[in-house]
Amino acid sequence: MLDNIALLGIAPLLNVQLLLDGLFIGAIFVLAAYGLALVWGVMNVKNLAQGDFVMMGGYIAFVMTKLGIHPIFGLPVAIVFMFGFGWVVYRVIIYRVVGKDLFTSLLATFGMAIVIQQLLNLIFSPDVMVAESGFAIRSYLGGMVTVADIKLISFLLAGVLATLVITFMKYSRMGQAIRATAQDPRAARVMGIDTERVYAFTFALNAAICGAAGVLISMIWVLQPFFGMTYSIRAFVIVTAAGLGNLPGVIIAGLGLGAVEQFAGFILGAELQQFTVVGLLVAILVWRQVQMSRHRQAVR
């Protein structure tokens, strides 16, 4: 461990590589987490199929390459397709669990995750798939830092998507309706907001964001019908660390955890890479608890 830290001192450029890789990874996790934060915050549904939506998006990009189209064009296709898919899923399943207790929504979405995994497995087989972007890989700083163009492009696209969603939430009628519903569904209904439609839209939007993340993942990591769980867990960790209802926090937490993960993997070894992320989450939760109990005492 110490020799690894020493190594970072001897070759400081490695820090740049790790930081960049961490931010690139983090940006994609942010997308999945952002969608989860929306659904969780607005409808109080904890979607365990989040990662499986991501995988679906990835397979859309994969199908595009099979058709001879560059996978990056899978982005709009995945967004539209997954939006529609999310809407249907809401109308068929999710509307039944909104407002029900925690376990109902967990069970329903967990069941959904299994169905999606098995369907993907039937259609695409359990083999590991990738979509190749074919973009260049550039070396900087004397070859010590390499950046694949696709990672950079994904990072930028993730940024653009996040900005679009945030702007949409702030300024559009629907965005305002979503936020109003999140604050108080009953009051929103009284004000004439069709909360059913808001819920359906929110869930569909989440699926679309996940689909976009999946397209990027297909060009950076690998696809397999059962890998969705990884992204579900990541999304939950990020949203929990950021604190519910804290959308900018999701972005910071996602990027931060991505970077921490890379450094942990380098210094402590890959076996402790995820341990560190989850350990950090526990630390944040404990710290927050301590803060809150202090706050409560002050109020008293």
Binding site: N4, L7, A11, L14, Q17, L18, D21, I25, N121, L122, S125, P126, D127, V128, V130, E132, I137, S139, G143, M144, T146, A148, K151, W221, V222, Q224, P225, F226, F227, M229, T230, I233, E261, Q262, F263, A264, G265, F266, G269, A270, E271, Q273, Q274
Partner: protein, 415 residues
């Protein structure tokens, strides 16, 4: 549900079950002139690709033996037939199906499932009922250290997968005028039973040569990213990088080695073929070393299928859609040959006599030599190492079977 109804249902089930048990053993193992072998294999679920390869291999073995007249026991010719169940790639289901095959269907001869995990679930049950199992797809070393008496495996065990790459690195070091003990090795293994077995074999050989381990990372199962580990590789510049993590590990490693422009003179990775890395990443995979149980270019030869190349041709002619014959299929066919051989030498259907005959197996086949250690693993066939040379897999080690020279140090166009 009324008590009365419950009683009736229970009664009905009881009678049915009793009927099955009574009817089962009487003629299920050998029906007329057909010997029935049971197998629970993964037709669906995460192992389904390889499960189907294996069942195709079993079927081809059976077809070939039946075409050549069948199995001669007690002066009479018998045909072979396999009764399959789908274990859905879950070990729990494999165990249930093992009970079902043995208890309900009265099967006395078993062909193994696909994967070490499912084989581990099945072995205790075949052991309990003293039913011999010949398996072809469970390589985990721990299967053969339990003292199982009824388990026989035709394939090489997992600790041999990458061990030969260490010997090869030592050889190359000598050639370059260095000592083998100067070789620095970086290791990245998935944290699962199979890859940890592979790792144990590698470490044994590293110790033998006195080499130095500079990285020893264990990748969590659900980690889809190796860039931190590979960045370390880039910084430390080892002489050999060994990686094992099933198809996901191979695909992730190949992709990120390319993206991070990792320049190591020798790289050895398991599951190159299964992950189809050449097709996915092209020239970036050049000169990777990949271990395999079997290759159609090897000069193995046997009575039933002829040479390895002839088996390859027959397999492709029998099943559509195969550009390469996976070794999973070849070893499955070999397992069927082992059964035939054992039936004829035992000249009986008695499971104890068959077990004895199996333990004395000494065969030459298209898949390699087969001879079992007391633990049940095949000790007569080595793992071979192939190198990806211009998109082709060429055998480069061990030297007895090598068809091509190893390219060292590794060269990648455009790097």
């Amino acid at each position: 549900m009324s008590k009365h109804f419950k009683f009736l249902t229970a009664l009905a089930f009881g009678v049915a079950a009793a009927g099955l048990v009574a009817a089962g053993p009487a003629h299920a193992k050998v029906e007329g002139d057909t010997i029935i072998i049971g197998s629970a294999i993964s037709f669906t679920g995460k192992y389904s690709t390889n499960g189907i390869h294996a069942s195709n291999g079993y079927d081809l073995g059976v077809k070939r033996i039946n075409e050549m007249g069948g199995v001669k026991v007690g002066g009479k010719m018998y045909k072979l037939k396999i009764k399959y169940y789908d274990d859905e790639s879950t070990p729990l289901r494999t165990a249930q199906l093992a009970e079902r095959l043995i208890k309900q269907d009265g099967i006395k001869f078993i062909l193994g499932p696909y994967s070490s995990a499912t084989t581990k679930a099945m072995a205790p049950i075949t052991e309990k009922y003293k039913i011999p199992m010949v398996e072809a797809e469970g390589a985990s070393r721990s299967l053969f250290t339990q003292g199982y008496k009824y388990l026989f495996a035709v394939l090489s065990t997992s600790e041999q997968y990458l061990a030969s790459s260490i010997a090869l690195a030592a050889e190359m070091a000598k050639k370059a005028g260095k000592k083998p003990s100067d070789v620095r090795v970086a290791m990245a293994f998935e944290n699962d039973p199979f890859s940890l077995d592979v790792r144990a074999g590698v470490i044994d050989d590293i110790k033998k040569f006195g080499m130095k381990i500079v990285i020893d990372d264990k990748l969590p199962r659900d980690l889809a990213d190796m860039s931190a580990t590979l960045t370390k590789v880039k910084a430390l510049k080892p002489d050999l990088l060994v990686i094992s993590g099933h198809s996901k590990g191979a695909a992730t490693a190949a992709r990120q080695i390319k993206e991070l422009k990792i320049d190591v003179p020798m790289i050895a990775i398991t599951h190159c073929e299964a992950a189809k890395i050449v097709k996915k990443f092209g020239a970036a995979t050049n000169d990777f070393l990949c271990p395999t149980q079997w290759a159609e270019t090897l000069s193995y030869k046997g009575k039933y299928f002829g040479t390895a190349a002839e088996y390859d041709k027959l397999f492709k002619a029998t099943y559509d859609g195969y550009r390469n014959v996976p070794y999973q299929a070849a070893q499955a066919s070999a397992a069927v040959l082992v059964w035939k051989d054992a039936f004829e030498r035992a000249n009986s259907f008695d499971t104890e006599k068959l077990r004895q005959a199996l333990s004395e197996t000494n065969m030459k086949t298209f898949y390699g030599d087969i001879r079992f250690a007391p633990g049940g693993n095949n000790i007569a066939k080595p793992m071979v190492l192939r190198q990806i040379q211009d998109g082709k897999f060429n055998v480069v080690a061990p030297s007895k079977w090598a068809s091509h020279k190893v390219n060292w140090p590794r060269k990648v166009p455009g790097m």
